[in-house]
Protein backbone atom coordinates (compact mmCIF):
# COMPACT_ATOMS: atom_id res chain seq x y z
CA UNK A 1 0.00 0.00 0.00
CA UNK A 2 1.04 3.58 -0.37
CA UNK A 3 0.45 5.53 2.82
CA UNK A 4 -0.25 9.20 3.05
CA UNK A 5 1.05 10.42 -0.33
CA UNK A 6 -1.89 12.81 -0.29
CA UNK A 7 0.00 14.73 2.37
CA UNK A 8 2.79 15.43 -0.09
CA UNK A 9 2.87 18.44 -2.34
CA UNK A 10 2.89 17.88 -6.08
CA UNK A 11 6.64 17.54 -6.70
CA UNK A 12 7.41 15.06 -3.88
CA UNK A 13 4.25 13.11 -4.72
CA UNK A 14 5.38 12.79 -8.34
CA UNK A 15 8.89 11.83 -7.22
CA UNK A 16 7.60 9.19 -4.83
CA UNK A 17 5.31 7.74 -7.49
CA UNK A 18 8.31 7.51 -9.82
CA UNK A 19 10.28 5.71 -7.11
CA UNK A 20 7.55 3.14 -6.60
CA UNK A 21 6.98 2.38 -10.26
CA UNK A 22 10.71 2.13 -10.94
CA UNK A 23 11.27 -0.05 -7.87
CA UNK A 24 8.86 -2.70 -9.11
CA UNK A 25 10.51 -2.78 -12.55
CA UNK A 26 13.98 -2.80 -10.98
CA UNK A 27 13.09 -5.83 -8.83
CA UNK A 28 11.82 -7.81 -11.81
CA UNK A 29 14.97 -6.88 -13.77
CA UNK A 30 17.32 -7.75 -10.91
CA UNK A 31 15.93 -11.23 -10.31
CA UNK A 32 15.63 -11.77 -14.06
CA UNK A 33 19.35 -11.14 -14.44
CA UNK A 34 19.90 -14.17 -12.20
CA UNK A 35 17.45 -16.29 -14.19
CA UNK A 36 14.64 -15.96 -11.62
CA UNK A 37 11.17 -14.88 -12.68
CA UNK A 38 9.31 -12.87 -10.07
CA UNK A 39 5.82 -11.46 -10.33
CA UNK A 40 4.54 -8.39 -8.51
CA UNK A 41 1.40 -9.40 -6.61
CA UNK A 42 0.37 -5.96 -5.51
CA UNK A 43 0.42 -4.14 -2.25
CA UNK A 44 -0.62 -5.25 1.22
CA UNK A 45 -3.69 -3.49 2.50
CA UNK A 46 -2.49 -3.74 6.10
CA UNK A 47 0.93 -2.29 5.27
CA UNK A 48 2.67 -5.12 7.15
CA UNK A 49 5.64 -7.08 5.93
CA UNK A 50 6.37 -10.71 6.64
CA UNK A 51 2.87 -12.04 7.31
CA UNK A 52 2.32 -15.66 6.27
CA UNK A 53 5.51 -16.00 4.30
CA UNK A 54 5.59 -19.32 2.47
CA UNK A 55 8.61 -21.47 3.09
CA UNK A 56 7.89 -23.64 6.07
CA UNK A 57 11.03 -23.04 8.11
CA UNK A 58 9.52 -19.97 9.82
CA UNK A 59 12.83 -18.13 9.76
CA UNK A 60 12.55 -14.62 8.40
CA UNK A 61 15.44 -12.69 6.92
CA UNK A 62 15.41 -8.90 6.91
CA UNK A 63 17.58 -6.56 4.87
CA UNK A 64 17.49 -2.77 5.21
CA UNK A 65 19.46 -0.11 3.38
CA UNK A 66 19.15 3.64 3.68
CA UNK A 67 19.43 6.37 1.08
CA UNK A 68 19.60 10.14 1.04
CA UNK A 69 19.40 12.88 -1.53
CA UNK A 70 18.93 16.63 -1.50
CA UNK A 71 16.03 17.21 0.93
CA UNK A 72 14.94 13.57 0.85
CA UNK A 73 15.88 10.47 2.83
CA UNK A 74 14.46 7.03 3.54
CA UNK A 75 15.05 3.31 3.52
CA UNK A 76 14.37 0.18 1.54
CA UNK A 77 13.37 -2.90 3.55
CA UNK A 78 13.31 -6.43 2.18
CA UNK A 79 11.75 -9.28 4.16
CA UNK A 80 11.54 -12.90 3.11
CA UNK A 81 12.14 -16.43 4.42
CA UNK A 82 15.46 -18.22 4.66
CA UNK A 83 13.94 -20.86 2.38
CA UNK A 84 13.48 -18.18 -0.27
CA UNK A 85 17.09 -17.04 -0.09
CA UNK A 86 18.27 -20.65 -0.26
CA UNK A 87 16.21 -20.95 -3.45
CA UNK A 88 18.04 -17.88 -4.79
CA UNK A 89 21.37 -19.54 -4.00
CA UNK A 90 20.32 -22.59 -5.98
CA UNK A 91 19.10 -20.46 -8.90
CA UNK A 92 22.31 -18.44 -9.04
CA UNK A 93 24.33 -21.64 -8.80
CA UNK A 94 27.41 -22.38 -6.77
CA UNK A 95 26.17 -20.53 -3.70
CA UNK A 96 24.81 -23.47 -1.74
CA UNK A 97 25.78 -22.98 1.88
CA UNK A 98 26.30 -19.24 1.49
CA UNK A 99 25.07 -17.00 4.28
CA UNK A 100 21.40 -16.12 3.75
CA UNK A 101 21.63 -12.81 5.61
CA UNK A 102 24.62 -11.70 3.55
CA UNK A 103 22.82 -12.61 0.34
CA UNK A 104 19.68 -10.67 1.25
CA UNK A 105 21.88 -7.71 2.19
CA UNK A 106 23.54 -7.83 -1.22
CA UNK A 107 20.15 -8.08 -2.97
CA UNK A 108 19.00 -5.05 -0.95
CA UNK A 109 22.10 -3.21 -2.11
CA UNK A 110 21.63 -4.24 -5.74
CA UNK A 111 17.91 -3.41 -5.76
CA UNK A 112 18.47 0.07 -4.36
CA UNK A 113 21.42 0.49 -6.75
CA UNK A 114 19.15 -0.44 -9.68
CA UNK A 115 16.57 2.05 -8.42
CA UNK A 116 19.24 4.75 -8.07
CA UNK A 117 20.25 4.22 -11.70
CA UNK A 118 16.64 4.53 -12.81
CA UNK A 119 16.07 7.73 -10.80
CA UNK A 120 19.07 9.59 -12.24
CA UNK A 121 17.45 10.34 -15.63
CA UNK A 122 14.37 11.53 -13.71
CA UNK A 123 16.48 14.19 -12.00
CA UNK A 124 16.38 12.42 -8.63
CA UNK A 125 19.93 11.49 -7.54
CA UNK A 126 20.39 9.62 -4.25
CA UNK A 127 23.29 8.20 -2.27
CA UNK A 128 23.19 4.74 -0.70
CA UNK A 129 24.26 3.48 2.70
CA UNK A 130 25.51 -0.06 3.29
CA UNK A 131 22.93 -2.75 4.12
CA UNK A 132 22.15 -4.24 7.50
CA UNK A 133 20.50 -7.63 7.93
CA UNK A 134 18.87 -9.71 10.64
CA UNK A 135 17.18 -13.08 11.00
CA UNK A 136 14.56 -14.21 13.49
CA UNK A 137 11.44 -16.33 13.76
CA UNK A 138 8.47 -14.88 11.92
CA UNK A 139 9.52 -11.23 11.83
CA UNK A 140 6.77 -8.65 11.39
CA UNK A 141 7.49 -5.10 10.30
CA UNK A 142 4.81 -2.51 11.10
CA UNK A 143 3.85 0.40 8.90
CA UNK A 144 6.21 3.31 8.61
CA UNK A 145 4.80 6.65 9.67
CA UNK A 146 6.24 8.37 6.59
CA UNK A 147 4.91 8.01 3.07
CA UNK A 148 5.65 4.42 2.17
CA UNK A 149 4.82 1.71 -0.28
CA UNK A 150 4.68 -1.97 0.58
CA UNK A 151 4.69 -4.43 -2.28
CA UNK A 152 5.07 -8.16 -2.60
CA UNK A 153 6.61 -10.36 -5.26
CA UNK A 154 6.29 -14.09 -5.74
CA UNK A 155 8.93 -16.39 -7.09
CA UNK A 156 9.05 -20.16 -7.43
CA UNK A 157 7.44 -21.13 -4.10
CA UNK A 158 8.54 -18.04 -2.19
CA UNK A 159 7.49 -14.47 -1.51
CA UNK A 160 9.49 -11.30 -1.05
CA UNK A 161 7.98 -8.28 0.72
CA UNK A 162 9.51 -4.89 -0.03
CA UNK A 163 8.90 -1.56 1.65
CA UNK A 164 10.19 1.79 0.47
CA UNK A 165 9.68 4.90 2.57
CA UNK A 166 10.64 8.51 2.04
CA UNK A 167 10.76 11.73 3.99
CA UNK A 168 10.72 14.86 1.86
CA UNK A 169 11.77 18.20 3.31
CA UNK A 170 10.35 21.51 2.21
CA UNK A 171 11.99 22.71 -0.96
CA UNK A 172 12.57 19.27 -2.48
CA UNK A 173 12.86 19.58 -6.24
CA UNK A 174 13.84 17.40 -9.18
CA UNK A 175 16.96 18.45 -11.08
CA UNK A 176 16.67 20.58 -14.20
CA UNK A 177 16.79 18.62 -17.42
CA UNK A 178 20.26 20.01 -18.19
CA UNK A 179 21.68 18.44 -14.99
CA UNK A 180 20.22 14.98 -15.50
CA UNK A 181 22.48 12.04 -16.32
CA UNK A 182 22.14 8.42 -17.35
CA UNK A 183 23.74 5.68 -15.27
CA UNK A 184 25.67 2.67 -16.49
CA UNK A 185 23.35 -0.33 -16.37
CA UNK A 186 23.63 -3.70 -14.65
CA UNK A 187 26.05 -5.95 -16.48
CA UNK A 188 27.86 -3.08 -18.19
CA UNK A 189 31.64 -3.50 -18.21
CA UNK A 190 33.74 -0.44 -18.99
CA UNK A 191 37.51 -0.60 -19.40
CA UNK A 192 39.48 2.66 -19.37
Amino acid sequence: MTAAPEELSAVPAEAFATMISQLSEAAVELFGSYGMRIVPIGTRSDGLLGVDLPGGDQTSILGVIGYAGDKVRGALVLLTSSTAVQAWHAAIGGLQGADVCDTLGEFSNMLLGHLKGRLLPAGFPILLSTPTTASAGELRIPRAVRPESVMSFTGDGWRLDVRLDATFEDGFALQDASQRTVAARAGDALLF
Binding site: E106, M110, A184, G187, D188
Partner: protein
Amino acid sequence: MSVKVLVVDDSSMVRLQVGRALGGAGFTIIEATDGADALEKLGAHPDTKLIVCDVNMPRMSGLEFLESLSANPSAPPVVMLTTEGQPDLIHRAKTLGAKGWIVKPFKPDLLVAAAQRLTASAA
Protein backbone atom coordinates in the same frame (compact mmCIF):
# COMPACT_ATOMS: atom_id res chain seq x y z
CA MET B 1 52.24 -19.81 -12.09
CA SER B 2 48.70 -18.70 -11.36
CA VAL B 3 47.93 -14.97 -11.37
CA LYS B 4 46.70 -13.58 -8.05
CA VAL B 5 43.56 -11.45 -7.91
CA LEU B 6 42.46 -9.61 -4.77
CA VAL B 7 38.65 -9.49 -4.48
CA VAL B 8 37.41 -6.73 -2.17
CA ASP B 9 33.75 -6.77 -1.19
CA ASP B 10 31.86 -6.73 2.11
CA SER B 11 29.46 -9.33 0.73
CA SER B 12 30.58 -12.95 0.95
CA MET B 13 28.04 -13.75 -1.78
CA VAL B 14 29.87 -11.46 -4.21
CA ARG B 15 33.28 -12.77 -3.18
CA LEU B 16 32.00 -16.31 -3.80
CA GLN B 17 30.62 -15.38 -7.23
CA VAL B 18 33.75 -13.54 -8.31
CA GLY B 19 35.96 -16.28 -6.91
CA ARG B 20 34.01 -18.89 -8.81
CA ALA B 21 34.21 -16.95 -12.09
CA LEU B 22 37.89 -16.02 -11.89
CA GLY B 23 38.96 -19.20 -10.11
CA GLY B 24 37.38 -21.20 -12.92
CA ALA B 25 39.52 -19.25 -15.37
CA GLY B 26 42.70 -20.17 -13.52
CA PHE B 27 43.23 -17.15 -11.30
CA THR B 28 44.17 -17.49 -7.63
CA ILE B 29 41.78 -15.54 -5.40
CA ILE B 30 42.65 -13.54 -2.30
CA GLU B 31 39.69 -12.03 -0.42
CA ALA B 32 39.27 -8.82 1.57
CA THR B 33 36.11 -7.48 3.20
CA ASP B 34 36.71 -3.71 2.81
CA GLY B 35 39.34 -1.21 1.71
CA ALA B 36 41.29 -1.32 4.96
CA ASP B 37 41.42 -5.11 4.88
CA ALA B 38 42.50 -4.92 1.23
CA LEU B 39 45.50 -2.75 2.11
CA GLU B 40 46.57 -5.38 4.65
CA LYS B 41 46.07 -8.25 2.20
CA LEU B 42 47.97 -6.37 -0.47
CA GLY B 43 50.87 -6.02 1.95
CA ALA B 44 50.80 -9.76 2.58
CA HIS B 45 50.49 -10.57 -1.15
CA PRO B 46 52.71 -8.07 -2.99
CA ASP B 47 52.61 -10.27 -6.09
CA THR B 48 48.89 -9.50 -6.61
CA LYS B 49 48.31 -8.63 -10.27
CA LEU B 50 44.73 -7.35 -10.22
CA ILE B 51 42.23 -5.97 -7.72
CA VAL B 52 38.45 -6.29 -8.14
CA CYS B 53 36.87 -3.83 -5.72
CA ASP B 54 33.39 -2.84 -4.55
CA VAL B 55 32.56 0.86 -3.98
CA ASN B 56 30.15 1.04 -1.02
CA MET B 57 31.81 -0.72 1.91
CA PRO B 58 32.12 -0.03 5.64
CA ARG B 59 35.36 1.29 7.21
CA MET B 60 37.05 2.21 3.90
CA SER B 61 35.10 2.58 0.66
CA GLY B 62 36.36 1.50 -2.73
CA LEU B 63 37.07 5.08 -3.78
CA GLU B 64 39.00 5.77 -0.56
CA PHE B 65 40.96 2.58 -1.23
CA LEU B 66 41.73 3.77 -4.77
CA GLU B 67 42.88 7.10 -3.38
CA SER B 68 45.25 5.35 -0.99
CA LEU B 69 46.70 3.34 -3.88
CA SER B 70 47.05 6.28 -6.24
CA ALA B 71 50.37 7.36 -4.71
CA ASN B 72 51.85 3.90 -5.37
CA PRO B 73 52.99 3.58 -9.01
CA SER B 74 53.57 -0.16 -8.65
CA ALA B 75 50.04 -0.88 -7.42
CA PRO B 76 48.17 -3.48 -9.49
CA PRO B 77 45.31 -2.35 -11.76
CA VAL B 78 41.91 -1.98 -10.10
CA VAL B 79 38.51 -2.81 -11.59
CA MET B 80 35.53 -1.49 -9.67
CA LEU B 81 32.62 -3.96 -9.30
CA THR B 82 29.56 -2.24 -7.86
CA THR B 83 25.83 -1.61 -8.04
CA GLU B 84 26.65 2.04 -8.73
CA GLY B 85 26.48 3.36 -12.28
CA GLN B 86 26.50 7.10 -11.63
CA PRO B 87 28.69 8.89 -14.21
CA ASP B 88 30.40 11.20 -11.70
CA LEU B 89 31.45 8.22 -9.55
CA ILE B 90 32.84 6.44 -12.62
CA HIS B 91 34.72 9.59 -13.61
CA ARG B 92 36.14 9.95 -10.10
CA ALA B 93 37.32 6.33 -10.07
CA LYS B 94 38.94 6.79 -13.47
CA THR B 95 40.68 9.95 -12.24
CA LEU B 96 41.99 8.01 -9.24
CA GLY B 97 43.47 5.40 -11.55
CA ALA B 98 40.84 2.67 -11.84
CA LYS B 99 41.16 0.64 -15.04
CA GLY B 100 37.57 -0.53 -15.27
CA TRP B 101 34.03 -0.29 -13.93
CA ILE B 102 31.58 -3.21 -13.91
CA VAL B 103 27.98 -2.88 -12.71
CA LYS B 104 26.45 -5.70 -10.62
CA PRO B 105 25.01 -8.19 -11.27
CA PHE B 106 28.02 -8.89 -13.47
CA LYS B 107 28.37 -11.19 -16.43
CA PRO B 108 31.08 -13.73 -15.50
CA ASP B 109 32.47 -13.92 -19.03
CA LEU B 110 32.95 -10.14 -19.17
CA LEU B 111 34.68 -10.13 -15.78
CA VAL B 112 37.02 -12.92 -16.88
CA ALA B 113 37.76 -11.12 -20.16
CA ALA B 114 38.56 -7.91 -18.29
CA ALA B 115 40.81 -9.78 -15.85
CA GLN B 116 42.65 -11.57 -18.65
CA ARG B 117 43.18 -8.32 -20.54
CA LEU B 118 44.43 -6.38 -17.52
CA THR B 119 46.79 -9.14 -16.40
CA ALA B 120 48.00 -10.19 -19.85
CA SER B 121 51.52 -8.92 -19.23
CA ALA B 122 51.68 -10.73 -15.88
CA ALA B 123 50.73 -14.20 -17.14
